[in-house]
Structure formats: structure tokens, C-alpha cells
């Protein structure tokens, strides 16, 4: 009986701890870092001219010491075939229209050009470093119970005033992300679906047309 009480106490304490942002961040990161995965991200994004567009991307991530992420654009139609590859050292941007690959050092690259840093969805720890997160509660979603997390950027140049994240509790990973401006208007709203573990290799994520023109930006 005492043993059962002790286990119940530990579980209760464990649940209590899981309610904190650092613990949720740790759980999400541990889950995303477990093995390579891919997912489809769809919703609306804001373009630099202020207009909003329906968008769909394929996100592929190889976690680990040398994390690698590839974002392939499916929509809008004007960007289909474009992709980004983000590593610790470099950011690649491939432009389908001109068959060019622009390579920039990661430290100087602004990957937030689309109003959201897509690579952050695969690096939850980095997201929590750039945005001050707060647990706003729990709710139910079609995928199951979720944590609702709100955040404000630590860096004013990130291009949004507030963020709302839904994180799946049973398989800790982001389900959706909503960015709002200072007038509380939605600037970007993205959902992560078709999440699956995949046997990805760095060669697969770095694949590109052999004849692409390479442009290096200092």
C-alpha cells in the first residue's frame, strides 16, 4: 500500500513537474531528438510585403550534434520547388526559377524571411531561447490533449508580438503555431501534420540539382 502511495506521489509530482515550461521543452526536445522525422506544415504565412498567403512545406529533420533541417516548399505555387537546408554552419536557399543555390553562414543568415523561422519547429530548445514561453493551460484537440503555450519574443526583430503554441501531450511535439502582431492580428498560422519517423540521411536532405549555380553570401 505504501509502495502504491509512493508511486502515486511520484507520478503526481512528475505530472506537476511536467506542467512547467522547462520540463515541457525538455520533453519535446527529447522526443524530436529521438530519431530523424518529417512532417507537413500547412497554413498561412505573411510575406515581407505584408500580404498573407496559403502555404505548405515539407519539413525534414535529422536531430543530433550536427542537426540538419530541410524545408521544401509545396505552396504558394510561386515558390514550389524552392527549398532551404539549415545546418549549424550554413543556410542554403535553393531557387527553382533560376536554379541557384545561395549559401550563407548560419550566424549571418536571416531564416525568418517568411515571418517565421521554420527551422525552430524542429529545434524547440532554440525556440524557447528566442521566445519567452508561458504555459497558458491545457485543452483538447482532435489529436488528443494538448498544452497551450503562449510566448513573447525576446528579440524585437523577430517580426511578431506574440506566439501561441499547441503541444501534443501524448507524443510531445508542436501541433500548431500562431503568430500575432502588436494589434493581435494573426500574421502566421501553421499546423504540423503527417508527423512520422523516417530513415533520413544528410545526403537526402542536402540533395540538389548538380548543375545549380552556387552563390556564396558573406
Amino acid at each position: 500500500m505504501n509502495k502504491l502511495l509512493a508511486i502515486a506521489a511520484v507520478l503526481f509530482l512528475g505530472l506537476g513537474v511536467a506542467q512547467t515550461i522547462p520540463e515541457i521543452t525538455r520533453q519535446v526536445q527529447a522526443n524530436l531528438d529521438r530519431s530523424p522525422w518529417e512532417a507537413t506544415i500547412s497554413g498561412r504565412i505573411q510575406l515581407p510585403d505584408g500580404s498573407s498567403q496559403e502555404a505548405e512545406f515539407r519539413l525534414q529533420v535529422i536531430p543530433g550534434r550536427e542537426q540538419l533541417a530541410r524545408v521544401e516548399f509545396k505552396r504558394p505555387a510561386a515558390l514550389e520547388g524552392n527549398f532551404m537546408v539549415v545546418s549549424d554552419r550554413e543556410v542554403w536557399n535553393y531557387l527553382f526559377l533560376t536554379n541557384q543555390l545561395i549559401i550563407q553562414p548560419r550566424a549571418r543568415a536571416r531564416v525568418e524571411g517568411l515571418g517565421i523561422n521554420l527551422a525552430d519547429l524542429g529545434d524547440f530548445h532554440q525556440l524557447s531561447e528566442r521566445v519567452a514561453l508561458r504555459l497558458a493551460g491545457e485543452q483538447n484537440s482532435p489529436a488528443g490533449a494538448v498544452w497551450r503555450i503562449t510566448g513573447t519574443p525576446r528579440d524585437a526583430t523577430l517580426g511578431f508580438a506574440s506566439m501561441e503554441l499547441l503541444v501534443l501531450k501524448s507524443d510531445p511535439r508542436p501541433l500548431s503555431i500562431t503568430l500575432r502582431d502588436s494589434s493581435n492580428n494573426v500574421v502566421s498560422e501553421l499546423r504540423m501534420g503527417d508527423f512520422r519517423r523516417a530513415n533520413l540521411t544528410p545526403q537526402m536532405l542536402r540533395r540538389r540539382p548538380a548543375d545549380a549555380e552556387i552563390l556564396r553570401r558573406n
Binding site: L47, P48, V71, F73, P76, A77, A78, L79, E80, G81, N82, F83, M84, N93, Y94, L95, L97, T98, Q100, I102, Q104, A109, R110, V111, E112, G113, L114, Q203, R206, R207, P209, A210, D211, I214, L215, R216, R217, N218
Partner: protein
């Protein structure tokens, strides 16, 4: 004669000074982006010259310098990226040599479904006198090119050109293309070059599982030219490719280029034979 010798001497001294500064810059940075050594030879007219090209990062710019016997060029270029949405590149280059001088500027950009580029060149001598890699034409040349994505896999292209050679003779050109991109790309087009009409057919695609790309473009009619480029990945991580370029034209002209591991050989025939051998050093890998 004495004055010419003195000017020549002063020029050579300036050239040597620039070379020394360049050398210091290279050793100071220790990471000059690239340095190419070359040797160019040509029969009729008989001509042999070493060539040197260097590209150095200078803040957000790249400094380009090039030297050959009797001429040098200095230029600046830069690229701005907008993540997956597009990019803008621009550059200027000034050349000076015993034969004359030249200036050129170019800008290109891609944003969403639209890509455009513009270039303007002027020289008071044949540009091949200022740099062996340039065409044997002088005077003014203006070029405008645009591409528009009609649909995700369909692209419309337009190229317009105007030139006025050293004798003041004007020349115009225009080319309209339609490209259908699936796993392979098919291009169809029509063009006019100095009142010569031609049709255009193009094909681009991967020809093996390793990702070897072949691009061919045939222009036929009153102007006839076949261009083919083959790029085979040797070491994808290091951007090492084997590149082959072939151009055949009628009236007879031809060029053949081979490039791998920083080595490049270009042979050409345009009434006279030429051969240009180059080796490029690129700290951090070739591309």
C-alpha cells in the same frame, strides 16, 4: 617612343604594386575566397599570357581582381538573400589595359515568380583585349533578361539585347522561350539576332541515379548553334563536380570546356585556335 616606354613602365610598376597589395591582402586574410592561376594561348593572332583571378570577401561585398599580360580589372559584387523568396545580386567591374579600357555593371534578382537581370558594358577596345575570357567585341552592349513563372511548372523567358560596336554599327537581338518543367525540362522558343531568325529547342534532365545533369540547347535557322553542358557530381559534400561544356556553331565556331577539382581547360575555335588552362584554389572547397 620614349614616352610610350615610360607610360608602359609606370603601368607595370602600378600593376606590380597592386599585385603586392593583393598578396598582402591574401596573406592577411588567409582565406581569400578563391584564387585562379591560368595560362592562355592563342594561334592567329599569336598570343600567350598568364592569367590571375582573385576573389576576396570585403564585408558584405566580394572584391574581384584579374590580371593578364597588358591588362587588369577590378570589380565589386554582392548578393542579398531573402530566404526562399529570392535574392538580388549586383556587381561592377572596371578594366584597364594598353589596348584601352572597359566598364561593366550587372544586376540580377529573383523574387517569388519573377526573375530579371540587366547588364551594361562599354569598352573602347575589343573586350577580349582586356580579358582573354571575354568576347571579341567592343563598344556598347546592353542586355535585359526576364523569366516569369506562369504556373508552378511553366516558365516564360524573354531576352533582349542591343549593341553598338566600335564602328558605330547597331545590332539588336531578342529571344522568347517557354519552358515546361517536369522531371525533365523542355524549352521551346523563337529568336532574332541581327535580323537572323531562328527557332530554339532545349532539354534538361538527370541522366543517371547519381544525379548527372545534361542540358542541351539547339538554335537553328538563319543562326545555328548547339550548346551542351554535362555536370556529374564527384563529391557532393565539397561541391566538386565534373563539368563538360560544348558549343558548336555554323558558320564554324566551337568550344569545349572541362572542369573538375579546381582544374579547368577551355579550348576554342573561332577562326583561330585557343587554349586556356586554369587552376582554382578555394579555401573550404571548390564549387
Amino acid at each position: 617612343m620614349f614616352r610610350v616606354e615610360r607610360v608602359k613602365h609606370r603601368y607595370q610598376r602600378s600593376l606590380r604594386l597592386v599585385m603586392v597589395i593583393l598578396g598582402l591582402q591574401l596573406s592577411a586574410f588567409g582565406l581569400g575566397q578563391s584564387l585562379s592561376f591560368g595560362l592562355y594561348g592563342r594561334l592567329s593572332p599569336d598570343h600567350l599570357t598568364p592569367t590571375l583571378e582573385a576573389t576576396l570577401p570585403l564585408g558584405t561585398f566580394d572584391l574581384h581582381t584579374r590580371f593578364q599580360q597588358g591588362a587588369m580589372g577590378v570589380g565589386l559584387g554582392s548578393t542579398m538573400g531573402f530566404a526562399a523568396l529570392g535574392q538580388v545580386s549586383y556587381g561592377v567591374l572596371a578594366s584597364l589595359g594598353f589596348a584601352g579600357w572597359g566598364l561593366q555593371g550587372s544586376a540580377s534578382g529573383t523574387f517569388g515568380p519573377l526573375a530579371a537581370s540587366i547588364e551594361a558594358l562599354y569598352s573602347n577596345t575589343l573586350r577580349s583585349n582586356l580579358w582573354v575570357g571575354d568576347q571579341a567585341e567592343g563598344g556598347l552592349r546592353l542586355g535585359l533578361a526576364g523569366r516569369y513563372r506562369l504556373a508552378p511548372r511553366q516558365t516564360l523567358g524573354l531576352q533582349l539585347g542591343f549593341s553598338r560596336d566600335l564602328l558605330g554599327t547597331p545590332r539588336g537581338s531578342g529571344e522568347l522561350t517557354y519552358a515546361l518543367r517536369q522531371s525533365q525540362t523542355y524549352t521551346f522558343g523563337l529568336g532574332v539576332d541581327d535580323s537572323r531568325l531562328y527557332g530554339l529547342l532545349g532539354w534538361r534532365g538527370e541522366i543517371d541515379a547519381a544525379g548527372t545533369m545534361l542540358t542541351t540547347t539547339l538554335r537553328a535557322g538563319q543562326l545555328n548553334r548547339l550548346e551542351a553542358a554535362l555536370t556529374a557530381p564527384l563529391d557532393p559534400e565539397q561541391f566538386n563536380n565534373l563539368k563538360l561544356h560544348l558549343t558548336l556553331a555554323y558558320p564554324w565556331a566551337a568550344s569545349l570546356g572541362v572542369e573538375a577539382h579546381g582544374f579547368r581547360a577551355d579550348a576554342a575555335y573561332d577562326g583561330g585556335f585557343s587554349l586556356w588552362l586554369r587552376y582554382r584554389l578555394t579555401p573550404g572547397g571548390n564549387e
